[in-house]
Subunit: 279 residues, 2 copies
């Protein structure tokens, strides 16, 4: 059981959820992420040179895509679970009954703007202590990662694949991935540098997608700093459901973000946290 995060949207208790309820929430998360993701595609790889000639003022396709997707998700939650709270990147926080949907309509905004592929729609349900279901959907590749802390699947077209993290238990054989250095504080960067020096290989870039790679076993350690709750919550049930571990750099509850690290398994994570210790 994870410790209570410091800021849990003001709630002081964890809401109990039955298996049947959780299954319903999981299905809703996947379906809703798909619908919202499809709505971002008309804004992906548009020619802003052309669009800016046709509109008054500057056309910002990313902002449009972000807002459209988040409104769609908030509307679906409002219709289906009117008592639930909502916390989203674009439209902020709306309190509810203790269960809170946490939305990043496009995680990897810069990747989206650059026409690259490592971005996705993130949707999680937070129970006051931890996210219990999580969906990450990449609409261009039609990949839906869906996890509930017990099991994780990757859906693509008609395919459904059970995901398992790697059995790599040695940090010196591990592949490490992080989105980039700009989000690290000086202290977090020096902690990260120790980890980077210990692994076999590291990769830059990735945003949410690198945590999907952790879940599928091809990346062994994923980390980013300065995360918001909406950047990481959806990914936690996906990673944990595939057999992985996610904490802050100090081993705490990662639900509210900050400097967060995910490993393929507990043995590896223990080595990772040792390397990340403040000296």
């Amino acid at each position: 059981m994870l410790d209570k995060p410091e800021n849990s949207f003001g709630y002081t208790t964890k809401v109990s959820v039955s298996q049947a309820q959780k299954a319903r929430f999981l299905k809703f998360a996947g379906d809703t992420a798909r619908v919202a993701g499809a709505q971002t595609l008309p804004f992906f790889r548009v020619n802003t040179d052309v669009e800016n000639k046709h509109t008054d003022g500057r056309f910002d396709p990313v902002t449009e895509a972000d807002r459209t997707a988040e409104r769609t998700i908030r509307d679906a939650i409002g219709r289906t679970f009117p008592n639930h709270g909502i916390y989203g990147e674009e439209y902020g926080y709306k309190p509810g009954n203790g269960l809170t949907w946490v939305i990043d309509p496009i995680d990897g905004t810069r990747a989206f703007m650059s026409g690259m592929l490592h971005w996705g729609v993130l949707l999680a349900l937070f129970d006051g202590e931890t996210p219990i279901v999580g969906a990450m959907y990449q609409p261009y590749t039609d990949e839906l990662f869906l996890g509930d802390r017990e099991v994780t699947h990757l859906f693509r077209g008609q395919n459904k694949r059970l995901l398992r993290t790697s059995t790599c238990e040695d940090v010196s054989s591990a592949c490490l991935a992080t989105t980039g250095y700009d989000w690290f504080s000086t202290e977090d960067l020096s902690r990260f540098e120790r980890l980077k020096a210990a692994v076999q290989m590291y990769r830059l870039g990735g945003d949410c997608y690198l945590y999907g790679a952790v879940a599928m076993g091809s990346v062994h350690i994923g980390t980013d700093a300065s995360l918001n709750a909406y950047d990481i919550q959806a990914l936690i049930p996906i990673i944990v459901g595939a057999g992985g571990v996610v904490t802050t750099y100090d081993g705490g509850n990662p639900s509210m973000g900050g400097a967060v690290v995910a490993s393929a398994n507990h043995t590896l994570h223990s080595q990772v946290l040792d390397l990340l210790q403040t000296t």
Copy 2:
């Protein structure tokens, strides 16, 4: 007309190619990259934990995928153009009649190993001075970038899209992308840092795929150092065909690799080369 690269596989003259021949080479490049790319997919995202239990010794899916794809391409060239030369990452150089096919069976090997999406099969035809057709195929997303220095298309499923680079003519508004810092010499890194300081936004990661993003107009400047001929040749006709410019950091012929930079247009490229000048 570009200057002659220093090493042109030993050839001293440029081979003239008719429009009809070029069209045939372009089609061959696209078709062959597709076939080879399809052969890499069985090795993508395989569970090496499992595979290593079933084989004697260590199963290396990337090496297998690389070699299989390059053999397929070399066989197709041998059947179709028996007099042409071949230069590939895995199986080296075979001299020919002055036209040389240049192969990177998987560009972005580490991305491939990590289960990420920014990698592709690269195939170019070099005329002794410059690559005249180029294909980049990402089989997982089924995207084929195909260019002949005059026109560039992106094929995906039944879709065919004409690509045009951005009209961004101001480096301070530009989005810059590079695969990572590890390939820069100290001097090239300091040149790159001046460029990075001048742009609006930069992205890390990408390998060949970032040059596809330059061709489609969503990245304005792409650069990497320590490139081999097979890392860049296929991308040159794609970028140039979409309206972009590619040279070495000193403005020379990029065909043999090294520190290479691609810009969306000549105005932007001139600013980029000024920033990259040795001080």
